[in-house]
């Protein structure tokens, strides 16, 4: 046990592990790069859909059912299938990550919109806001706790799942784990695990701060509850 720890410390202390294409900084950057791309894409796809069905109220049941059904499909299997079908490369990885994140983001945004009090919506329309103004000035800000919770959960899930990019020989922190397992190098495996865990937690913390900053002061309590709900509805990879 002690040996494991000393080896780990030595691994992190070794400057070789911090340089070059297999160094920690490179791997971290690769990992972040895949994650950011996937998050941005997922948001770009999911939020407009979520806002549309949230504002009109139509298609929600379908979205929720699809999302629930999606939960029954194991992410690991989906990833491998995507790789099998689409081959190796950044695009399959991104496709897999985005496809996994979009359903729960849509559901959370939809839920956020549905949670807007109908009296609030009624008075907004009654005061003379156009549909778009209602969305922009009222629904989005009021739904923000759930919207952000959805983005946050999906982002953390993407960071975690990006680990599997290594399975198709791409980069990222997953490489330490996959390569380590292949080479029976436990130290490398553990180093990778620690780094991935740290990055995930940092993402969670960072986005949590962002959520607190973005969400209106008048809604902070709802925000905390919403985060908990969203977290439990999603899966991690």
């Amino acid at each position: 046990m002690i040996e494991v720890v000393t080896n780990l410390v030595a691994w992190f202390a070794d400057p070789i592990n911090w340089q070059g294409p297999t160094g920690v900084p490179t791997r971290i950057l690769e990992h972040i790069w895949y994650s950011v791309l996937a998050i941005v894409l997922a948001v770009a796809i999911a939020q407009p859909v979520g806002i549309l069905i949230g504002h009109t109220g139509r298609g929600g049941a379908l979205a929720i059912n699809l999302s629930n059904a999606a939960r029954a499909v194991p992410t690991f299997g989906v990833i491998l299938l995507t790789f099998l079908v689409a081959g190796i490369g950044l695009v399959p990885v991104l496709v897999a990550l985005v496809v996994l994140a979009v359903p729960s983001m849509i559901t959370n945004t939809y839920a956020g919109f549905r949670a807007v009090d109908r009296d609030v919506r009624d008075s907004a329309e009654g005061m003379g806001m156009t549909g778009w103004q209602v969305v922009r000035r009222v629904e989005i800000p009021v739904a923000m706790p759930l919207i952000m919770a959805g983005v946050r959960i999906s982002a953390v899930q993407i960071v975690a799942t990006a680990t599997f990019a290594a399975v198709v020989s791409l980069g990222g922190l997953g490489r330490y784990i996959i390569d380590g397992l292949a080479q029976q190098d436990l130290t490398q495996v553990l180093a990778g695990a620690i780094l991935v865990a740290a990055l995930s937690l940092l993402t969670e913390l960072g986005l949590s701060r962002l959520q607190t900053a973005i969400v209106s002061d008048g809604l902070q309590e709802e925000s905390q509850e919403a985060s908990m709900e969203a977290k439990l509805e999603g899966t991690t990879g």
Partner: protein, 363 residues
């Protein structure tokens, strides 16, 4: 001014919420739409700002067909207050109030001044401006709702049970304050309630609806009580209709009658004379400044020296000219004399209100 021309609203499942309505809401008046659940009063209200569209007929708002302008534009000129208020939880009170000015494009300074002014008008302290709706009490939220509706100074207001969600004491207060506000602002207001007493209190005119969107009667409160159109209206107006009618007439509207008034220093037999002359078996007693102190019976006066030597019975209540005849009736039943004594602000005698006075007014 708001005009309904043969307006009907039929829903897809067949329910009729408004049945061929034609009436006019005169400018500067507060018209109450009242009736039991299912009578369509809220639907009718919401057709004015096109939250619901009529199936048939036309609604004219300020001389223009409501359907001829885009709905958001129409609504920015109409104040809208609903029962649950619908304050935006993510905005401060100040931002909530500033919503329509912001939509219309007022500059920041003008908006800020207007918000400050409105908060004073509705009785909110300025420190509330930076708070959020969830931090306010029900009564405060209601006030914010009214302020928000008044922000762009719309000539017309639609109010749907605006004081329904608070307790009776706060509700009374809000009603009084709103009436005071309306006396100043003279807006054209359509007000929905299910409470006939609130309708009587608030309305210049009342429209009574029946289930199925039928307008049973449209009249001033006084006319409604005096000449109800049919049994439904009679039932809806409720019991003790005469008392309700009396509540609407101020004491100042009737001529006071006179009864014998003496002071405690006067001679008892002089007082007895006065009593016999006027045909009562009692006299009223006042002090040197004519402030009423009570009454003395003729029997007690018999054989006394001065009026003051006899037993003077005090009055439980007086009425002033600003109170209603109903209050006069209330004072009247308290004393065995069967009259209510009318006094001024300092308690000085002005006359009496008798049973005959009341009956005469009710004719």
């Amino acid at each position: 001014m708001i005009t309904f021309e043969s307006v009907t609203k039929r829903f897809a499942d067949g329910t009729v919420a408004a049945d061929d309505l034609s009436f006019e809401v005169p400018e500067g008046e507060l018209v109450v739409l009242v009736g039991p659940s299912g009578c369509g009063k809220t639907t009718t209200l919401r057709m004015v700002n096109r939250m619901i569209e009529p199936t048939e007929g036309r609604i004219n708002v300020n001389g223009q067909d409501a359907a001829s302008v885009p709905a958001p534009t129409l609504r920015r000129d109409i104040g809208y207050v609903i029962q649950q208020v619908g304050l935006f939880p993510h905005l401060t009170i100040a931002d909530n109030i500033a919503t329509v000015p912001s939509l219309i494009g007022w500059d920041k300074e003008r908006t800020r001044k207007r918000v400050e002014e409105l908060m004073n008008t509705v009785g909110l302290s300025q420190e509330v401006a930076g708070r959020y709706p969830r931090q306010l009490s029900g009564g405060q939220q209601q006030r914010v709702g009214v302020a928000r509706a008044l922000a762009a100074d719309p000539p017309i207001m639609l109010m749907d049970e605006p004081f329904g969600a608070v307790d009776p004491i706060v509700r009374d207060l809000l009603q009084e304050e709103f009436l005071r506000l309306q006396r100043e602002l003279k807006k054209t207001i359509l007000f929905v309630t299910h409470d006939i007493d609130e309708a009587m209190k608030m309305g210049d005119r009342i429209a009574i609806f029946n289930v199925g969107g039928v307008l049973e009667q449209y009249a001033t409160p006084t006319d409604l009580l005096a000449t109800p159109a049919n049994d439904f209206v009679v039932d809806f107006l409720g019991a003790e209709r005469n008392l309700k009618r009396l509540a609407l007439i101020p004491v100042s509207a009737v001529e006071p009658e006179t009864r014998p008034l003496v002071s405690s220093d006067d001679a008892a037999d002089r007082a007895l004379e006065a009593a016999r002359e006027s045909g009562t078996d009692w006299v009223l007693v006042s002090d040197a400044e004519k402030r009423v102190q009570g009454w003395v019976s003729a029997d007690d006066l018999d054989g006394q020296g001065t009026v003051g030597d006899a037993e003077v019975h005090p009055f439980g209540h007086f009425v002033t000219q600003d109170e209603s005849l109903r209050a006069a009736l209330d004072a009247m039943v308290e004393s065995p004399l069967g009259v209510a004594v009318r006094v001024d602000g300092d308690g000085r005698y002005e006359g009496v209100v008798t049973h005959n006075t009341l009956t005469g007014e009710l004719k």
